[in-house]
């Protein structure tokens, strides 16, 4: 009995997904479709949509679905906040010392911000409230951006240490040529022109190849979800 109920649930959700998906997709694709039906052999026009000619607005329903989606998405922020507090509260109780500390800071800062905004909702940048943002967050993020460079250099080194393959060698060699070619030094015109060529031809070709592959995969997967062959939305 439970299996039958589950099957019915799957069919029901599939029908809803297919209907909503297709009507939104076609509505947004076609927009307002003007039509002009020919007179039939019996002397009358097909009486759908208000007569033999006119404009069929297919995007009305699509826009309603899009609005519902936007509202639902906006509500997920509430789930997010609850999740953030619950996860960090649990880490305060059960986590390691470093996890406890960071979670306490997150929870405290959350409530401090909440209270300040609740008390003075019209705070502007002149009030000094941006102090933490400008003097803590921005410098830390700048430092992290700088660290990315070292992580990448280490990555190139690690790539060859892990296993020396033709592709690995090519990767590291290309990185070095591009890095050196970008330097404003005299006497490296050849490297600069090689860098330009690398960026213009192989990099552009590879970029387009990867992006086309992703776009095609997105299209195929999306259509299969729309026609109910891939049910990524439930059992």
């Amino acid at each position: 009995m439970r299996q039958i109920a589950q099957r019915i649930g799957v069919v029901f959700s599939t029908v809803i997904v297919v209907f909503v998906g297709f009507s939104t997709f076609l509505g947004l694709l076609l927009g307002d479709v003007s039509y002009n039906l020919p007179e039939t052999a019996y002397g009358f026009a097909i009486p759908f949509f208000g007569g033999a000619s006119g404009v069929l607005s297919t995007d009305g329903l699509a826009l309603i679905f899009v609005r519902i989606a936007v509202v639902t998405i906006a509500l997920t922020i509430v789930i997010g906040v609850i999740n953030l507090l619950a996860v960090n509260s649990r880490r305060v109780i059960q986590g390691k010392l470093t996890a406890k500390l960071s979670s306490i800071i997150i929870i405290v800062m959350f409530f401090v911000t909440l209270v300040i905004y609740a008390a003075r909702p019209t705070i502007d940048e002149q009030d000094g409230f941006q102090f933490l943002l400008e003097n803590v967050q921005v410098p830390i993020e700048s430092a992290l951006t700088g660290l990315i460079f070292f992580a990448l250099v280490y990555g190139a080194f690690r790539l060859l240490r892990k296993r020396v393959t033709l592709m690995g060698l090519l990767f590291v060699l290309t990185v070095e040529i591009v890095l050196i070619g970008a330097l404003p030094l005299p006497g490296i015109e050849l490297l600069t022109s090689v860098t330009d060529w690398l960026m213009r031809v192989p990099v552009t070709a590879g970029t387009r190849g990867i992006l086309l592959g992703i776009a095609l995969a997105t299209l195929v997967t999306g259509l299969r979800v729309l026609i109910g062959q891939d049910r990524t939305y439930g059992e």
Binding site: A99, G155, V220, Q229
Partner: protein, 260 residues
């Protein structure tokens, strides 16, 4: 919308429909070997044996934006991956940087536990949202997680930029295995250089087909391969047919009455 765009979209839809119908009639085909999928048993096995959580993430992939399908496919990959892990005691940790993807994390983990008959062990807080105004904050959170939560390995799918280097670097420092992929090129390059194994581009869309026994998911990969071959033919054919293309499109457009 322009008539050419409408026409191309409709032709593509028709094409995928036809290919779907054709592929469904065929037997399961052999798929090429992808190294990242070959190390999945190793990554999941380490989590169970070490009794440590496996960290999986969708990064910046969201629901409602241009990464919606990426999020859905990444979620399917993670579903089949976590099904192997949830038989152990350590619950996997599923992180996202956008709240719209948070319900996906809980649904995916719940489904994985249900599929293994362990629904009582499901913990909703295993899905975590790390707020990220820009992606560096998210990367920083994942860096600290490597030690704080003593994760056994990292599977990072979805959208990442160059900041992925920080996460993978931390993962390597703690000697954790990792699989990474990004739909952004900077993230993809970093994944290739720093992850234990990287998936390239659309290989993430093929992942469910490799990890499950579901024939429909294998068929998706076959359809994808066929469309890719057709695209190659079109790319080669367009320069040859370019002088005739406007006339052909106009003729077909006028037959079907498609107008802008």
């Amino acid at each position: 919308m322009e008539a050419t765009t409408q026409f191309t979209a409709l032709i593509l839809i028709l094409l995928v429909f036809i290919l779907n119908a054709l592929v469904r009639r065929h037997d399961r085909a052999q798929m090429r070997r992808i190294r990242a999928f070959a190390i999945v048993p190793q990554i999941t096995g380490e989590s169970i044996e070490a009794n440590r959580p496996l960290h999986v993430s969708l990064g910046g992939a969201t629901i409602g934006g241009d990464t919606t399908l990426l999020a859905l496919v990444g979620k399917e990959f993670i579903y089949y991956l976590t099904r192997e892990v949830v038989i152990g005691d350590a619950s996997p940790i599923f992180t996202v940087s956008d709240t719209t993807a948070l319900p996906l994390t809980m649904d995916t983990l719940r489904r994985a536990y249900n599929a293994e008959g362990r629904s009582d062990a499901f913990l909703a807080l295993s899905g975590r949202w790390y707020p990220s105004g820009n992606r560096l904050a998210f990367a920083a959170a994942l860096m600290t997680m490597q030690a704080d939560d003593q994760v056994s390995g990292n599977v990072l799918t979805g959208r990442y930029g160059a900041e992925l280097a920080l996460v993978l670097n931390a993962s390597n420092r703690h000697k954790k295995g990792s699989i990474a992929v990004s739909d952004r090129l900077d993230g993809q390059a970093v994944a290739y250089a720093l992850a234990t194994e990287a998936l390239i581009g659309e290989e993430i869309f093929a992942a469910p087909g490799y990890l499950s026994d579901d024939v429909s998911l294998t068929n998706r990969n076959i359809v994808l391969d066929r469309v890719r071959w057709l695209l190659i033919l079109v790319l080669i054919g367009i320069p040859i047919l370019r002088p005739l293309l406007p006339t052909i499109l106009e003729t077909i457009g006028s037959i079907f009455g498609i107008g802008g």
